[in-house]
Amino acid sequence: MRFIFSVLFFALMTFSLSAQGFNNGVSGEKTFTFFDKAGRNQATFFSTTPLEDINGTANGIDGTVSFDVTNIAKTIKGHVKVEVNSMQTGIDLRDSHLKSPNWLDAETHPEIRFELTGMKDVKSEADNKISGTATGNFTLHGVTKEISVPVTFIYLKESEDTKKRAPGDLLGVNSKFNVKLSDYGVQNDIIGNKVAENIEVTFNVVGTVK
């Protein structure tokens, strides 16, 4: 009886440990960088005004994330930053207003930053895919707040396909969350329109192994 319990306990421990990271045959500490010369990494944002919807992109993304592949929850750390000047909404006048002192003030606060401090609720969705809630400090417009955002990581080992993008292993990172403008002292008027209080932000970035 004691033997059965021991086996069950061991199996449970093994399962819970593997659920904390990838189970794709890779082990050890890995560091990925999000800087992409071609500007393919991007954050997109969506908002509404009484007159129309606003879609935008920001391609000036940089940052790193590092973790132990088999135990992400306890070892993850890193940061992502977005250049405010790389933001585009499809209308030049609106872009310049977005970066002006009345809005994001690109001159005084040139970047939006997320400092990753940990990850919780880590779930293994496939051998190379995990999801969870990333926690960290989000800085926008010079104001820093602790936030938790849902995130999905997909780990691809180097192959002929991945080499087309970059050498080495790749990490696909996807996250979608809302940012409340008033929390960060941003006025939500843009060219006479009242922009919705919550901006929907989506991160679609690929990390290349350092």
């Binding site: 991007q42 992109t57 499809g90 997909i154 396909d161 991945t162 696909g172 990172v173 996807n174 679609n204």
Partner: protein
């Protein structure tokens, strides 16, 4: 209203109608746009679970252009109709 004034009126209405039809045909956007966001996803993007959006140069006729053209046409038509009015001789 004389024959010339009627022609001016018809042309004015036609220009305004075409302008509004163009606006509707372009999707009824409020502001004129020169770029449009298009979603792209390569086979590798699918494997990485990401989707990209890129700006494509395109022209989308907005309500702002429609109203500007309507305004200019109404003013120009009004001036033409005034200039081409029948001058009464006493």
């Amino acid at each position: 209203m004389n024959r010339v004034q009627k022609q001016v009126l018809l042309v004015t209405i036609a220009i305004i109608a075409v302008s509004f039809l163009l606006w509707i045909a372009y999707g009824g956007e409020i502001f004129t746009k020169y770029k449009m966001l298009v979603e792209t996803q390569s086979e590798l993007d699918k494997q990485l679970g990401i989707t990209n959006k890129e700006w494509v140069d395109t022209f989308i006729w907005g309500l702002d252009y429609t109203l500007i053209i309507t305004g200019i046409t109404v003013v120009a038509g009004g001036i033409m109709m005034f200039l081409k009015r029948d001058k009464q001789t006493s």
